[in-house]
């Protein structure tokens, strides 16, 4: 088990370094110039532009820039944002909690809705309710989450005459307002993801319910509740859990657009703006962080899979 974890961590570290270098080169390859973006409206002489470019260190060769980035990074110094001059690390510490909160809330919506719908569908398989839920989840699968977000915001303002409060407040400042602001984006992300969870839960549960040990359980007279929930649901959740873990990456991606739509100052919006303003140092660390979260979640999924399913432990 320990060996498995160590091995995964080493791989993860290597992958992170590959991402770092790849990203570093890639963001400098896309056309666009951070200095000119900053001075977009102004008539500035070429000398001034060269001066600012030198100040940002962008006149140095690529390998030298990468070298100093690494030299800083190992000391925990990720540089300063081009556009605001603030340390990248503090921007991220400020922005990350919102994105994590949004992801967790969306996940809660997705898991609750997905598992309930999937279970109901499986238990009442081929009934009209099952058919309705299955059609519903196909629709859910086909809707992009940002589109659902736009529909929700328009719908609630017209029909319910309610709009989420506009100025973001953290959960510690004002929990009620914070949740009101998170409600729609979390729903938009969560509902879309719940569709695939529901389908997976349904098929997995049907498979479990059709297996021999369930027949044995029923034969020895276990109540239907015990059969369905204590044995059926629990066993059918193993693939669902793995799937949920993998989907965290997808959810993080969704936050980039939804934070933009719902005016939430999280990491997603930071990425969006860092791309637009060619803020290389900020973009580098943000994307790297997404990569690290993704890798970390995959390691956790791998390891927990072994933990949930003892057969997997020996296989490694």
């Amino acid at each position: 088990m320990l060996q498995l974890i160590v091995k995964r961590l080493v791989y993860g570290f290597l992958i992170l370094n590959i991402i770092t270098v790849f990203l570093f080169v890639l963001i400098r390859l896309i056309p666009g110039d951070p200095v000119r973006v900053q001075l977009a409206d102004a008539a500035v002489s070429q000398e001034r532009i060269d001066e600012l470019t030198a100040q940002l260190g962008l006149d140095r060769p690529l390998w030298a820039q990468l070298g100093s980035w690494y030299a800083g990074a190992v000391r925990g110094d990720f540089g300063e944002s081009f556009s605001t001059g603030r340390p990248v690390a503090s921007i991220i510490i400020e922005r990350l909690p919102l994105t994590i909160e949004l992801t967790v809330l969306a996940m809660a919506v997705a898991v609750t809705l997905g598992i309930v719908v999937g279970t109901v569908s499986a238990v009442r398989r081929n009934s009209w309710l099952d058919n309705v839920l299955r059609v519903g989840s196909v629709i859910g699968l086909s809707i992009p989450n940002f589109w659902l977000g736009l529909l929700l915001i328009t719908f609630t303002s017209i029909v319910l005459r309610w709009v989420p409060p506009l100025s973001y407040q953290g959960p510690l400042e004002n929990l009620g307002q914070n949740l009101a602001q998170m409600l729609l984006p979390a729903a938009a992300l969560g509902v879309v993801l719940s569709a695939s969870i529901a389908r997976l839960t349904r098929s997995s549960m049907l498979e479990v319910l059709g297996s021999d040990f369930i027949r044995t359980l029923r034969a020895k007279g276990a109540s239907e509740t015990v059969v369905l929930f204590q044995h059926g649901l629990r066993n059918s959740l193993i693939p669902v859990l793995t799937y949920i873990g993998i989907q965290i990456g997808g959810l993080l991606g969704g936050t980039v657009i939804l934070e933009q739509i719902f005016a939430l100052p999280g990491l997603g919006r930071t990425v969006f703006e860092a791309v637009s303003s060619r803020d290389y140092p900020l973009l580098q660390v943000c994307v790297l962080l997404y990569g690290a979260i993704f890798i970390f979640v995959n390691i956790v999924v791998d390891v927990s899979y072994g933990w949930i399913n003892p057969r997997m432990r020996r296989a490694d």
Binding site: I30, P31, G32, D33, P34, V35, R36, V37, Q38, L39, A40, D41, A42, A43, V44, S45, R48, S83, T84, G85, P144, F146, W147, L150, I153, T154, T156, S157, I158, R161, W162, V163, L166, S167, Y168, I257, Q260, I261, F262, A263, P265, R269, T270, F272, E273, V275, S276, S277, R278
Partner: protein
């Protein structure tokens, strides 16, 4: 995919947030005179939605509208545009802001400004409400000359002095008539000396003499201002508070306007206007000319755009009137200096100078050696919203009718603005004109062969001479005539950038907003006199 979310500025599909350049470039408001609703009533909060936040509050670092819209309530200038219900949008009349009177010597080489007495800085440490002195103005201008992007506005200035606490004297090496207008430019805010000497972090703080005091700035969330109780104009401002909130999505902005949470919302397309009208049926709609005409610009370093006849043919191929009707549902014939009324050419003349004549366009192309037209590429960015892409598609169709086969190339905003356009890596491009407040700022910078933003490779000795001359004409009317003459020349003999259309910007204002009379300047100067009924 962000397209569906909306727009610009800039920022940019990731460009979505740029869309509202126009939406925010100067805000807008209704021309209700106070008489209609009784005497002004103090109090209330005015909320403005912006598509993106500023990166810094330092007025000399960023030229972005995002920065200057936010600091305009805090700082003052030496001069400013008059705000009045009697002035039309774009009719810019100068009046004193910090300066109470000013004088230009007969040779045009000395400008003397007398400052108002008893103007106090905001009561915020380390300035603590001390009196404004001429030294503050000198320090500000020196910093601009040293490191400000707006240094060009102080062209030819050799000396800045403060002979006493209330007098500022600027000496010039040669006459530069735009200087006076430039003192009212929305980039020329006066800062306290303490700030320039490093006692205030200008990136995050702004202490000025303006009508509102900056209370807090939560990055990417909101900027909050409260009334300056010691503002030098008695009884002003009326509003207790102004809040700028950052809301990137147009849908969220419409929803907030519908709920009455914000006082106004701008529509950059007719469709957005329909949505807003339906959202708040009793809102007032104000149609202001945009400060940013649509430009179709040509790279004269590349063939065949070096040939005037080709450029003329392109302009003649555009069915402007039809396009305005269908695409923008309104608007006007455009000109290089459209939004400054004093220098603007009349609509009839502009129509005559920019005729729709596809037959003559074909003949001109044939004369230039392209009887069968040619192939080329048109660069457009989605960063200004989908409407610009549609606009580009319209032009492609019009040009096809005279044999110019155009391939449309959609690029991301930062690529467009920071690389392809200034790098002159394009055949044709389309985008909005950057707003400006002094014709010289625009004409010389963009059209002169040495202009810092002549990214079109225009090189016309006659035009250069005309551009240099207008800056030396001291009589305002004579100068206005010269500038009109330059525009006629640009529209017929330079024909680059081609002015496509002056699109309308429609602004919706909640019914309770009074005395809100915007002008095309950053910084929301109209909020000084705006008040809320009810």
């Amino acid at each position: 995919m962000t397209r569906s979310m909306r727009h610009r500025t800039v920022v940019t599909v990731l460009t979505a947030f740029l869309m509202a350049i126009s939406a925010c470039s100067s805000g807008a408001g209704g021309g209700n005179s106070p008489e209609e609703a009784g005497p002004p009533k103090p109090g209330g909060t005015f909320t403005v939605l912006m598509p993106s936040d500023t990166k810094t509050l330092d007025p000399h670092k960023e030229s972005s509208y995002n920065t200057h819209e936010r600091i305009g309530l805090v700082y003052s200038r030496l001069l400013r545009e008059k705000i009045s219900p009697d002035l039309e949008y774009g009719d810019i009349q100068l009046e004193g802001d910090l300066a109470k009177e000013w004088e230009v010597s007969d040779d045009g080489l000395t400008y003397t400004f007398r400052l108002r007495d008893g103007v106090r800085w905001h009561d915020v440490p380390p300035v603590n409400g001390r009196e404004l002195v001429a030294d503050d103005v000198v320090a500000t201008f020196e910093r601009i000359r040293k490191e400000g992007f707006q240094a060009g506005l102080l062209q030819n200035v050799t000396d800045i002095e403060a002979p006493d606490d209330h007098t500022v004297v600027l000496r010039l090496s040669e006459p530069f008539v735009p200087l006076l207008n430039n003192m009212a430019n929305h980039h020329m805010w006066i800062l306290p000396r303490e700030a320039i000497e490093g006692e205030v972090d200008l990136n995050t703080k702004a202490i000025g003499t303006g009508p509102f005091i900056l209370e807090r700035w939560d990055r990417d969330v909101a900027t909050t201002y409260r009334k300056n109780p010691d503002y030098y104009e008695k009884d002003l401002p009326y509003l207790d508070r102004v809040v700028f909130k950052v809301v990137p999505g147009q849908e969220a902005r419409v929803a907030a306007f519908r709920s009455g949470e914000v006082q106004y919302a701008a529509a950059s397309t007719p469709e957005e206007a329909d949505t807003l009208r339906a959202a708040v049926p009793d809102a007032r709609m104000l149609e202001v000319g945009s400060t940013t005409a649509v430009l179709l610009y040509l790279n004269q370093d590349r063939k065949p755009f070096d040939d005037l006849r080709v450029r003329q043919a392109i302009s003649m191929a555009l069915h402007r009137a039809q396009m305005g009707k269908v695409l923008w549902r309104g608007g006007k014939y455009p000109a290089p200096v459209q939004q400054l009324q004093k220098y603007a050419l009349g609509q009839e003349e502009l129509k005559r100078l920019q005729p729709y004549d596809p037959e003559r366009a074909k003949r001109l192309l044939a004369e230039a050696g392209y009887p069968n037209g040619f192939r080329t590429k048109l660069m457009v960015t989605s960063g200004y919203g989908p409407q610009y892409v549609r606009q580009a598609e319209w032009l492609v169709e019009d040009l096809a009718k005279v044999g110019i086969r155009v391939e449309l190339e959609v690029v991301e905003y930062a690529t467009y603005f920071s690389s392809r356009w200034p790098g002159e890596e394009y055949d044709m491009g389309i985008g909005p004109q950057t707003p400006f407040l002094e014709p010289d700022e625009h004409l010389r910078v963009q059209l002169h062969s040495d202009g810092a933003r002549n990214w079109f490779n225009i090189s016309d000795p006659k035009l250069d001479k005309m551009l240099a001359e207008q800056a030396k004409v001291t009589d305002p009317n004579e100068r206005a005539e010269k500038i009109k003459e330059i525009q006629r020349y640009v529209l017929t003999e330079v024909v680059n950038p081609i002015n496509v259309w002056d699109r309308p910007v429609r602004v919706f204002i909640q019914p309770n907003v009074q005395n809100n009379n915007p002008q095309p300047a950053y910084g929301f100067p109209e909020l000084r006199t705006t008040w809320l009924a009810q």
